[in-house]
């Protein structure tokens, strides 16, 4: 199954590229918010590609479903934590200007 292996390798390499992009973003960007933005988006996308590669490599449907649900839950969890960190930092900077939207 050469074609499957080639696709797996391509997906892995793309995933690694996105991970590298995320890490470089964390190191080099000037501000917390831009770092957070780079990290969350790039790392989760890289994780998605690696998850897809692994789901293709382990050719059992239950495993693929499990990997997909892991990735989905990670997406929810890290977007939430990204938002929480950003809000935490914003409130530390200006503690009294917070509007309660109800």
């Amino acid at each position: 199954m050469m074609i499957k292996e080639i696709i797996t390798v391509i997906l892995l390499v793309v995933g690694c590229f996105f991970f590298l992009a995320g890490t470089l973003g964390v190191l080099r960007f000037p501000d917390l918010f831009s770092r957070l933005h780079a990290l969350t988006k790039a790392d989760n996308l890289g994780l998605g590609f690696i998850a897809a590669a692994m789901a293709l490599h382990i050719a059992s449907p239950w495993a693929a479903l499990k990997i997909f649900s892991i990735w989905f839950f990670t997406l929810l969890a890290s977007s939430t934590s990204c938002y929480l960190i950003a809000r935490f930092q914003k409130e530390k900077d200006q503690p009294s200007s917070r509007k309660e939207e109800e």
Binding site: G15, C16, T23, I50, M54, A77, L84, F88
Partner: protein
């Protein structure tokens, strides 16, 4: 095929090592908190690749545990630090 997996895992481990830099330099505590997210996501990726490399599917359970912990840490920091400033949660 296996060697590709090994290269990927080594690469991700180097990513973690690079991300450590932000724990020292980060001027605020939020910078250090976001490295937690980096470790969590990269750790999960390493576990996924290891699951394929070692052909041991139970590693996927470990991956979910990492994820849960990372978000628990963030929420805990957020709530616990906020309370000290006297604001209502």
């Amino acid at each position: 095929m296996d060697s590709i997996f090994i290269i990927v895992i080594v690469f991700l481990l180097l990513n973690i090592a690079l991300g450590l830099f932000r724990v020292w330099r980060g001027p605020t505590v939020s910078d250090r908190l976001l490295t937690t997210q980096l470790f969590g996501t990269t750790g999960m990726a390493i576990l996924l690749v290891l699951a394929g490399y070692l052909k041991e599917l139970t590693l996927l359970n470990v991956a979910i545990t990492f994820n849960v912990l990372a978000i628990l840490l963030v929420i805990c920091l957020f709530k616990v630090w906020k309370k000290k400033k006297g604001e209502t949660p």
